[in-house]
Every structure is written in structure tokens, then in C-alpha cells.
Symmetry: D2
Subunit: 366 residues, 4 copies
């Protein structure tokens, strides 16, 4: 009996369970293969006793409609930088990768499928270089991984953000207000860009295009002079003024500067707009964790299911050191070491940006 170990790492994302279910269902069609899951990424393997579990078809029945991950996840550390509390209470990070590899051998693991974002895939690459038979499955709600058309979870987050814009539009219109919606996207503004186009915002601010608050104000004034009394702004948490520092919403961790706070980016924009002379009433909303949760939309379940089947088939084909990727309509594999070399950022020349500008969305740059 061959064993493939699967695990999920980093922030959770709608579709993770659909990947797990697809791996298990595909594996069940092969004689001599079983799937085991490790809890909380590699923690399940490292713990004593180990927290790993055989995943059969019953274990994954119906989970494709559930958000989150039945295996749990963590975004603290990893085998090459394992957080250990020192006697004085401070943390140090130890390389426990050799120990991990011994444990994998001891558990009879023939291959590993690591479902995770760029941090996780860097770990995959390093483990692969140390001889582990590892396959990567890309996971990022921000859609910022390169070499794949899309990653699962992203369209669900876009749908959630768009429904939020839809809701805010009616309340903005009733009160003649400017509403700012802060969405995810620290380095890449994909969610903001998609939600702004789908929801019909007037302004969209993303990390890739630093904004000038006066340009934003200009756009708002043009709208008001056209007779409308309200406006919607979608801002990515990594957006920042031209020349300014990025002050992203740090999911609760204190930033060094001490400035990180709930909706920091939206609030800063609000203050800057006020200072620049904006006279309208402004309200801000921060979507936060709502974007990660909930039932994946059909698109993401399908993509995740294809990724799961492909990942297991790559194990059979021994395509180790590679990652699943979507090149419509194909699902292909690419070397992990290529993937982790660059982010998939919004291209200012893309047709989606051109579309957004074409319908009058301002990025605060012109």
C-alpha cells in the first residue's frame, strides 16, 4: 500500500475541502493507494503523538460544499522555521526539516501533496530539494500566484466582495454618502479590481497603482457634478498613497509602527479625503474574514476538484517538485521553483484595467 500525505497551510480559502475530497476520490480508484491527512499543516506530523488520519471516501463525503479545511491550517512557521518559545518567553525559529523527513519515512509516506500559498510552496521546494516526493497545489485567496489563470477561492471572495458592494450601493444612494469598502489584497489588487468592476464602484485603489488622494477627490467631484449624490470606493488592504507607506490591515498582529488597526487603510483614506477637502459624508466597511469563509461558489469547487484530481495524478506520474496550474481549459503542472520566483500582480496594461477605466473607474492615478 502506497501512502500519500496531504496537508493544508496558510490562511483558509473556500475550496480547500473540495481539493481534499477530489484527491481522496481519485485515489480510491487506484489499488494500493491510501490518503492520510496531517492536521494543521505539518504540525500533525511533527506532534508527539502525530495527528494524522486516514482519509477515506466517508471522511470526505459532502465536504466540497463547506468552507474552511477539515484538516485545519496554520500560518505560523513551518519545518524550516519552527517557532519555539525560549526560556525568556521570546520566540526562536529552528530548522526541523530533517526531523520532519525522518517522520515522513517512519510513517511510510511515499508522496506529499502540499496545498498552500507562496510560503507553503517555498517549503515544498526546499523539501523537494532535500529529496521529498512533493507536489504543490496553489492556494491563495488573493490570486497572487503566478503560472495559473486563477486559484480556487478567489472567485468566491470576489462574489462576497461584490455582494458587499451591491449592499453598500443601495444604502449609499439612500443617504447620499461615500462608502469605502476595504477588501483583501496585500500585494495584489485582484479582489478589489474584480469587485469594483462587478459592483460598479467609481474608485478602485490597489497596491499596484499608488494613488493620489487629489485624483480620487477629482473623480468624486466629477460624479457629484454629474448629479449623483453618492459614490463607492473599493480599496485593497495593500493600497497606499503615491510616495506613501503601505499600511495594510495586518489580521490582528501588531505592526512595528503600531499603526495597524481594524480597517486602517479605509480609515486613512477617509481622513486623507477629509483633509483634501471632501465635503461628503464618508462611511467605511471592512470585509475582513468574511472573504475567506462560506460555501465556495461552483466555479471554485470545479477548479479545486480539478486541482485535486490533477495533484493525485501527478503523484502517480511522479512529477515531484511541480505544482498544479490552470491554463484554460487545461490543468497542467509547472516546476515549483518557477512559481515562487514572482507574484501574479495586476498588469496595468491588462484588458481588465482598460475595461475598468473604460467604464469610468478611477485608480487615483490620472
Amino acid at each position: 500500500m502506497n501512502r500519500v500525505l496531504v496537508l493544508t497551510g496558510g490562511g483558509d480559502c473556500p475550496g480547500l475541502n473540495a481539493v481534499l475530497r477530489a484527491i481522496v476520490k481519485r485515489a480510491s480508484r487506484e489499488r494500493n493507494w491510501e490518503v492520510v491527512g496531517s492536521y494543521q499543516a505539518f504540525d500533525g506530523v511533527m506532534r508527539e503523538p502525530t495527528e494524522i488520519k486516514i482519509l477515506d471516501e466517508n471522511a470526505v463525503a459532502g465536504i466540497h460544499v463547506q468552507g474552511g479545511t477539515i484538516l485545519g491550517t496554520t500560518n505560523r512557521g513551518g519545518p524550516f522555521a519552527w517557532p519555539v518559545k525560549k526560556q525568556d518567553g521570546s520566540l526562536e525559529h529552528l530548522d526541523r526539516s530533517d526531523e520532519l523527513i525522518r517522520k515522513l519515512e517512519h510513517l511510510g509516506i511515499d508522496a506529499v501533496i502540499n496545498i498552500g500559498g507562496d510560503g507553503s510552496q517555498r517549503i515544498s521546494q526546499k523539501l523537494y530539494e532535500k529529496g521529498v516526493n512533493i507536489i504543490g497545489v496553489p492556494k491563495t485567496i488573493d490570486n497572487d500566484l503566478s503560472f495559473t489563470d486563477f486559484t480556487f477561492g478567489f472567485q468566491t471572495a470576489v462574489q462576497t466582495a461584490t455582494e458587499a458592494v451591491d449592499k453598500l450601493v443601495t444604502t449609499a444612494a439612500s443617504h447620499n454618502r461615500i462608502l469605502i469598502l476595504e477588501v483583501m489584497g496585500r500585494y495584489a489588487g485582484w479582489i478589489a479590481l474584480h469587485a469594483a468592476v462587478a459592483g460598479g464602484a467609481e474608485v478602485c485603489l490597489i497596491p499596484e497603482i499608488p494613488y493620489d488622494v487629489n485624483k480620487v477627490l477629482e473623480r468624486l467631484r466629477k460624479r457629484f457634478s454629474g448629479g449623483k449624490g453618492f459614490a463607492n470606493i473599493v480599496i485593497a488592504e495593500g493600497a497606499h498613497p503615491r510616495g506613501g507607506e503601505m499600511v495594510y490591515q495586518n489580521e490582528g498582529k501588531e505592526k512595528k509602527s503600531g499603526k495597524a488597526r481594524l480597517g486602517g487603510v479605509a480609515l486613512q483614506l477617509k481622513e486623507d479625503l477629509k483633509e483634501a477637502g471632501c465635503e461628503g459624508e464618508i462611511r467605511e466597511t471592512v470585509l475582513g474574514h468574511l472573504q475567506r469563509g462560506g460555501t465556495p461558489i461552483a466555479y471554485d469547487r470545479i477548479l479545486a476538484t480539478q486541482f485535486g484530481v490533477k495533484a493525485f495524478e501527478m503523484v502517480l506520474e511522479r512529477k515531484f517538485g511541480e505544482m498544479v496550474a490552470y491554463k484554460h481549459p487545461d490543468v497542467i503542472s509547472v516546476p515549483i521553483k518557477l512559481v515562487v520566483q514572482k507574484y501574479n500582480l495586476v498588469d496595468k496594461q491588462s484588458y481588465l484595467i482598460r475595461t475598468a477605466r473604460g467604464i469610468g473607474i478611477s485608480f487615483g492615478d490620472e
Copy 2:
């Protein structure tokens, strides 16, 4: 031709448009009646030139599915306290009610239907006492108006909040976190209570039951000792520690104390929990304006439609000075002066509170 003027005041609420549509459709069945709408509550009447508009069936076609209000709304002042900027820039509030009444006469208004919350209905009562033929329609997303089983918009807000809990549960479970969701409810905790029961939270904190942070922590520890690694807390914006001050999220207006900030209540609870020794990771989410927006659910459309039809029939029956109310399965009328005398607060002896405690929800009080 008789004319009834309709207007919407205070924060917007899903179902307002369904009320307007029902009034117009019901009125269209009577000869000799027409409906006119005033923009931004009484502002439309007071402006020069007036901003009022005849509402016929075409004007209201299909609007029952839209959030917000096609008439716009405002929560600044009213005819008895009209905000006027003085020369030094400060605001004073003038009584312009006589002027309003003259304008209503001048416009040939035979009756007024005032759709609004307790502030609006206080104005209705004062106008009624000055001789205006006025009917009230209750509107409060918080469900805090008395003498009616429910008000429209509330169940939509509960549904939005519950879907948020559903989304947070999967991400909380995947990360073993404590998630705090801050929902609307300054004086009444109805939304929080309903969303906590529907979504399956462990803790629900509402204005009517001041909480002890140690009791909250006790409940969390009981859950963790039972093997679960995550928990959900729903907190109303008006919830406050026992003996503590109410620090509600003031929709962007600066509070006197200067402490109001986005998600103030959720953040305070988070800090207090940390201080009390809570070791779990805590994340907070603030639903904010999302609760006001969007398509009303069927329940609210039906209630709003009944309110609209009833309001117009009360005009025909000349039941002035009264407000529409829902006493299942009837729609009745009650004197406005009774309604504005007391809030509809959560009753600690109610079966819903008993139910919540029965399934293990802690209110932080015992």
C-alpha cells in the same frame, strides 16, 4: 383629487421601497387619490424649489426587491430642530414646523405617511398635535419599536448577520481562532440574539445584559476543555461590560469622549479578553452598513407590503395620529404617542433568551 405625501426618514432599511410600492398600488385602486413623495424626509418639502414627485405605478414598478429607498432619507434634524449653520460656522437648530405645515397646505397635501423610526415618529406625534393628518409606519432595523411583533428590515439584517456567522465559523474552525462579530443594536440586542441562535455562537453580548469578561472567558474555556479549538462571539454595538460605559460604534460620528472608532466594541472586548488571560488567537469583524443594504428577504417584503397597504387604508379611515403595527396574523393601528414612550428591548425572561441559554450560549452574566 386628494393627495397623500409619503416620506422616509432615519437610517435606511431593507423593505422601505416595498412599503412605498404598496402605498402607491393600493392608492391606485381608489379614484381621487394620488401619492406624492418627498425627497430626503421632510427636506423635499422644505427646499426651494420643493423636491417632491408624483409616485404612480410606473415609478414604483419592481422596486420592492431593491434595498434602500427611492425617496432618499436623512437622519439630520427634522422640522422641529432644523439644522442651520450660523455665521461662525456652528450649528443651531430651529423650529420650522409652522413653515412646514404651511407648505403642506400650499401643496394641497391631505395626509402624510411618515415611514421612520422612533425619532421620526416623535416628529409625527408633534405634527399630529399641531393638526397634521399623519400616519406612522414603523421602521427600525434594530427591531426596537414597541407595539409591533416585528418591523420590516430586521429579518433581512438577521439573515445577513447569520450568514456572516456561518462564514466565520468555517474560518474559525480551520484556524482554531476566536472570532468576534460586531452587529447593529445600540439599545436593543435583537440582531445579535437572533444571529447567535441561528448561527450557533457560543457567546452573545447585548446591551440589555451587561457582561462580565471573566464569565465570557469561562464559557470559552469550557468549550476548549470540551475539545473544540474555536469559538464564535456575537456582540451588539451597544453591549458593554457590567458597570462599564456603552461605547457603541457611532456610524462615523465622533463621540464626545473621542473613543468611538470602527469596531470599537469588538476591539474593546478583544483587549479585555486578552487582559483577562485569554490565550487563543482572536479576530474581529464589523458588519456595519452591510446589515442595512441589499435585497430584502421575502419575510420583510411581505411585512413591508402589508404595512404600506394598511397605512393607506388608515388614511382612508382617517386614523390619524396612529401607527401601523403587526400583531400576527393581523396588521393593526396603535396611537403614536404610546409607541414613542418605550423601546422594545430584549426581555431576559423571554423564551428566546431561555432557548439561547438552553443550547449553551453565554450572555456573559452567569
Copy 3:
């Protein structure tokens, strides 16, 4: 240790799992009580070996968001009319109630909570009369049980039907068509009435008000003469022409007359309209099982949770032979024998019917 047996019977309904979860959670707060579930109504008890299972908090964790019932259900027979295949292949129905009672005793069951519709509650009453300690929880998606303001599942079905009307309106308008939507309701037209008011249909046909197809056509013509080119009709599966026979959609079972077929009621109306001279294009849609499925809306989860807690508390109070009921804002108990004596039908004098007529909905009767 005391044991309470729970079971679900009849057609499934959103909220059943929330009732089960509430019973288990409430029971877990008492020492000396455990909950066991019987599969497929009483079948689980009757089978050899029995198919019953202890339900602890883990077994019900998170199930309140799921449609259906984790215990399964059946609407074939019951202990007083157990279907048994005879040697010639035909069915006979035997009274196996004494055997059931012996088995309940043998299993150490102290009380039974029977969650089901009027058929199930008739069984409850008969078992109670034979000495079984039984509590009823009302379940009917059609809302046709008396003595309770609402039953859980109904508002979810109304929401599903209303969303269907919303979808059909845009397609009807684009094509200038008449769309007929057939919804559940064999004896009571509650779902049709609610969905027609919430969705804004022009015609609503329900079992309580036999229709005259010429009156329906008159209403359509009035609409078309008013300039609109499309119309929506909501029809309950039990609706029938004045003087005509009920031809309800029999969930796939062949009717004696052989006329039952998918969407039979909608198709008959279509044919009758054509015959009466209707010139518009007509399309029909049958919602069918979609109304039973899916995640219950918040309203139903709350009502179901209250019912579950109340049912267990009635066991503690030994209020046997009674059924849980909702009289807003209370949850009360009523003798089952009263409940099964009459259906909760739509009252033609109710304010909801008056509202519907007030906004121009025709019931085909005037």
C-alpha cells in the same frame, strides 16, 4: 440514565436538524438524560437489528445549517399501518403498534419526541392514548398545521419560491411572456400567497379559493392594456378551477385518474388559458423538491431551535400528549388531539389576502 428517543417523519423540511441539535444540546445540560435517534422515523426501532443511535453533542455539531435530517425520514406508513408485501406482491397495512411499544420499553425509552406533520402527529396521539410518553414537534413545509403561528421550514420555502419569482420576472419581462410558477401546497396555499406578495406576481391561485380561468385572463388583459407585456402567476399544486377537481402534483406517485404528471397543475392552467383565448406566450416552471432542500434561513433555524429546546423541556415537565407551538413571542404547548382536528388554511378575510388584493393580485375569483 433516562432516555429520550427522537425521530423525524414525513417529507423533509429545512430546520429538522436544528431541532435535533437543540434537543441534544438542551438535554446535555441535564444529568441523567441521553438522547437516542431512530432512523427513518419508527423504522429504526422496528428493524432487526434496530437502527438507533446515541446522539451526543459531537453528533449534532454544526448540523443546524444543513437541510434534510441526519436521521433520515420516510412517509410510508407508520406503526398503525405498517406496509407489508403480501405473497401476491400487493401491499397490506398491519397494526404493529404493540410491537413498537414493547420495543421502546425494551430499549429503555422513557419518552419520545416525534417531529412530523399531521400524519405523524395522529400517530403520536394514538401512541399517547396507548400510554407512550410522547411529545410532538410540528413539521410542515406548507404551514398547514393549526395552533402555531408558523412552522419551521416554511419561511425557507417561501424564500426559495420568492427567489424563483424574482428570477422569472426578469426573463418574463425580457421576452414579454406569461410565466407560471407551480409551488408546494396541496391543501393550503400559504407558500403561493407569500411568494406572490413578496415577488410581486399578478395572479395567485390557491386551493382555498377555486379560480375561474376567465377571471385570471381578465386580470392579465388588464395588465397588458396598462402597457406591460409580461405577467407572473404563482399557483399552488392544490389549486383548482371552480367546480373542478384537484389535480395536484403527486410527487411522482401515479394518481388513480392517471393524470398526475410533472407540473400537472401549471400545465392545466396553461392549457385552460390558451383555450380561454389567452394570446401571450406562456411558460411554466415547477419548483418541486427545491423547496424542501437547502440551508434553512435564520428565521427557521431560530424557530426550530426554540422548538427543540421546548420539546425537551416538555419531556422534563412530563407534558406528554402535547405538541410544541409558537405564539409570538412565546413557545407554548397544546394537546395533540386538538391540533390534528383541523388544518391551518388561508383565511380569505385575513389581512394578508386583503394586502394581496390591495396591491392588485388576482385570486381568479373576482
Copy 4:
């Protein structure tokens, strides 16, 4: 001032309004261009008096969230086969294209944007060959147009169908039934395939893969022998048994054979399964027009908006005789004459089919 005429033809599809809005918004950024809309495809131009309307930004404000098309649509005839009633009541189809072209000239139309399916694009090609400056925008809910990755509306239909599967799964499981869901797709099984993978059906039957009912039964029996008591089947309306005739649900039109009826395909499968010895209870549901209606999901709004902007830019670039197409991440143009030469059918070698088989979905062919 230059004028571009826009029109929508064929069955309606979520996203049509987003295309219209994008065309108008993009055109408003050019001096000297105005957009006019023709009602009911070319009917608006042909009627006396014409029914065409200038579309400015106010006319399209907020329509991107609405299903259907504000211009109305029709799928009867077209300028080359205009249906005319003869004296004996029968229909003949006349070529009125020259008349149409004269009218376009008379109205001062410089270019036409024709949003429609393959029938509409055939008309576009013929008009282009006669000298009309025409641009095509692909519209098909079935996703059966070639040369474009996806068409708008398709993902919304998939989402609707998947939510239907989700709802049916819970009721199927509770009752141990086999549920058949009939979805759109006369020639191409894309909706069925996507919904089956996303929803987790056991069987998926599509026009591209004729099925053997015994193979279907085999799959069901394998599932039941594995311990599950229920199953879900998704069937496209164009699916048919191997060697059998296609009996698609003809949207209400009588087929020559007289066999077309509501849910004909689902019912035939049900009967065939029974005949082949299937012992389970079977229920069928027909989604029908629900798949066309409703608010487009974000994905479709974005695609439709890109198509609208591109279509207008193609007018500026005078790329007449070409159609907008999506090749991720670009939006390109292709000659219409290429597009209408072949359908985009499901490729049996595609990774999506491989994925479906990989998770155990049977297509009834092996």
C-alpha cells in the same frame, strides 16, 4: 454625431444589461458618439413607428445587477426570415433585410452591435456581407459558442444549477431517493457537466456522450452497494440514450413528434431506469427558466462588462464583421464567419471530463 445601434436577440441571459451599460459608459468617454437601443432585437427598427431609444448613462445606471435585458429580446425570426401571417393563418418567412438596411441608414446608424447567440451572429454575418458595419457580442447561456473561453451568463446558470443540486442532495439523502435534475443544454452539456462536478452528482448525462441506461444503473448500484442510499443525476435537456433520439425540452413549443413535454428528458430517464430494474424511488426536477433569470454573479458581470467595452472599441477601430471573444486574460476579436461554423461542444478528452470521471461521475458510457 455618430450613432451606434445596440440590440439583444435570442433567449435572455444574465449579463446582457452589464454589456449594454458598458457600451454606453465607454461611448460616453468619446465625443461625437451616441448609443441607441432597438427593442426586441431588430423589431424595434422594423416597427412603424420605430421603437428605438437613446441610451445615456442615466438609462443604464445600476442595470448591471439586473437579469434579463432592458431592451427586451425575441427569438422569432430576424430580418432574413421575418415571420408574416398569411391570410390562411399560416406563417411564411420573408427576407426584409434590404428594408432593414434602408431603415438603419434613415436612422443615421453608423454601426451596429448585435448581442446574441449563433442564430443572431449568422444574421450579423449576412448583414455584414451586405455592407452593414456590424460587431458581434457572443451570448449563449449554454456556453456553446466557439472561439471564446466562456460567454457571460454561463457561470450564473452553473451557479443556479449547482445550488439546485446542493438543495436536492439534502432531500435525497433524507429520503434515500434518486433525484434527477434536468438542466439546459440542447447541443452542449456544459451546464450539466459543471453542475455535476460542483454539486457532487454520481451521474451526468450530456448530448455529447449518448448514454446506456444499464451503465447508469450499474453506477447507481455500485453506490448503493457502498452503503449510500441516495444518488443524484444531472441530465442536460439534449442528452439521449445511445442510439436514441434527442427529445429535448422544447421551451413549450410543440415538437413535430408531439412528445415534447415539461421535463421530457428527465421523465424518459426515470421510466427507462424503472424499466431496467431500478428499485429506488426516483424524483425529477426541471430547472427550466430559473437558469436564465436573476442577478448575474460577479464573474459574468465582469466578463459582460469587458465584452461591452471591447465591442465599442471595435466600433472605433472599425473591426466590422468581427465578434468579441475572451481568451484569458485578453479580450480579442475574431471574424464572425469563423464563429458560426462550429459549436463549442464538450470535448471528451478534456481535463474536466477526466476530472469528473476521476471523482467517480458516470456519463453512462462505460
